[in-house]
Amino acid sequence: MGNSASITAARAGVVSPEQRAEGRRAATMAGLRKVLLPAGTAGAALLIWEVTVRVLQIPPVLLPAPSAIWAKLDQLFLPLILKHSIPTITESLIAFVISTVIGIAIAGLLSSSRLLREALYPNVVFFQLIPKIALAPLFIVWLGIGAESRLSFAVFISFFPVVIATLAGLDNVDKSLLRLCRALRASEWQVFRDVRLPFALPYIFSGMKIATTFSIIGVIVGEFITSQAGLGYLILFASAQAETELIFAAITVLCVFGLVFYGAIALAEIYLRRRFGA
């Protein structure tokens, strides 16, 4: 037995330190390339934008140069933009959390009951097809012009992707693992907790990533219609004043927030998948 164990240890693959260092260097280069190439492309695009605006002398009301937008952002961030960023960011985060929880719960429900699934799933898919933005005014009719209607609308548009993705994950579980669970007399809940959910984790995260963007869109649309504060309101206000630089400054903040938000979810995914090896 001792003999066979050492044989299998060798078979598991032992890599020398040199090979490992070599592999790490190659990985770092590939990683740098992956970051630098798109960043360089974006930088070049900004540069072309800047030069075009200056050379063609495009009026700032139509299209301000990136440097002018940056100056505006620098000038107004603390006195004005930050104040409007806070409600937008908070509401997007809340909407995202609610969508994720509701989305996973509904997917869990649909995957656990055949009846519910047959009754609801086609309708869920049908709902996906509705241009949901068109329903935003209804939420104001129902819930008024407060944060509730914006939040509900944002949740409404962002929980669908979570449901669809999670359900795909819960359903695609390796059938042999389910057979094992049956042989071990596992309860439905135990199968969900130990098998279906961990298996669905990558799927859930892909749904959550979509939900980050959708929850921001939902809140901004809500602010366009009703709000007295928030970046959506600020954009609308700036457009009424023909302050195009301010519009772009607000959009820049939204982009940065969206990027950080998405990045945080992507990092959480890497951490969890490493932790649970899914």
Partner: protein
């Protein structure tokens, strides 16, 4: 455990799959009895219904006719005192080796600390204790299957069911695993039902072999293996071993033609 002569009994057990108007007779009228402590192999060509028969003994499928009894009580669902090893190791990729072995305990009672010592004993026995914190995808196929065997033994079951557990392995790992299983057997000495299509494997591991034919899907021979235990890998060169293998091959082919 004192030996019980009729620990596992099958009475006229058959399985018929119906789809529309066609019927597939997966297993036809199986009748046999195993005393406790016996290592029984069900040997037959692929598609002869041997895995279906095992699933019914394990309570994963219900017989169309007949009855299966373990220790006197009819089998209607998977039993607590049963360990199951499947064709694939079916380890949970998100659990470590140790937690995979403890998985049945986790399902049964939540807390696993009381079984940690036993898990260590089992993993040491198969030479994998040093790999306890690894994930299944870091192991070779043979190592994964050894973890699956430890998992089946963790709750100290009275009966161990194995469904072609080594058929996905290469020939060398397969021989290794047979030796490993034989030595596990010498220590634990449960009742085992082992499904395989490898004649050599069946003879090396078993006390008794039931040969199944494909058409009809029924048991056509009941063979006793005349070797004692412990068994060394060398018995494969024994003339009696070689003769038994060739007899079994004839019986399987005869079942094939019929």
């Amino acid at each position: 455990m004192t030996a019980v002569a009729d620990f596992l009994t099958l009475n006229g057990v058959s399985k018929i799959y119906r789809s529309g108007r066609s019927e597939v007779h997966a297993v036809e009228s199986a009748d046999f009895t195993i005393p406790s402590g016996q290592f029984l192999s069900i040997l037959g060509p692929s598609g002869c219904g041997k895995s279906t028969l095992l699933s019914m003994i394990g309570g994963l499928e219900t017989p169309t006719t007949g009855q299966i009894r373990i220790a006197g009580s009819p089998v209607t669902a998977p039993r607590e005192d049963m360990g199951y090893v499947f064709q694939d190791a079916t380890l949970l990729p998100w659990f470590t080796v140790l937690n995979n072995v403890l998985f049945p305990v986790r399902l049964r009672q939540g807390r696993t600390s009381a079984y940690r010592e036993r898990a260590r004993e089992l993993l040491e026995m198969v030479g994998l204790w040093d790999f306890r914190d690894k994930r299944p995808d870091e192991l070779s196929g043979g190592m994964r299957q050894r973890v699956a065997i430890c998992r089946a033994l963790i709750t100290d079951p009275d009966i161990l069911l194995m469904d072609e557990p080594f058929s996905a392995l290469d020939a060398i790992s397969r021989d290794e695993m047979n030796v490993a299983l034989a030595s596990i057997w010498d220590r634990f000495h449960k009742t085992a039902v082992f499904v395989t299509h490898s004649i050599r494997e069946a003879v090396f591991l078993s006390d008794r072999i039931l040969v199944m034919s494909r058409r009809p899907s029924a048991i056509c021979h009941d063979v006793t293996v005349p070797f004692g235990r412990p068994r060394a890998a060398q018995i494969e060169r024994d003339p009696v071993f070689v003769q038994l293998c060739s007899d079994l091959r004839d019986q399987i082919e005869e079942g094939h033609r019929a």
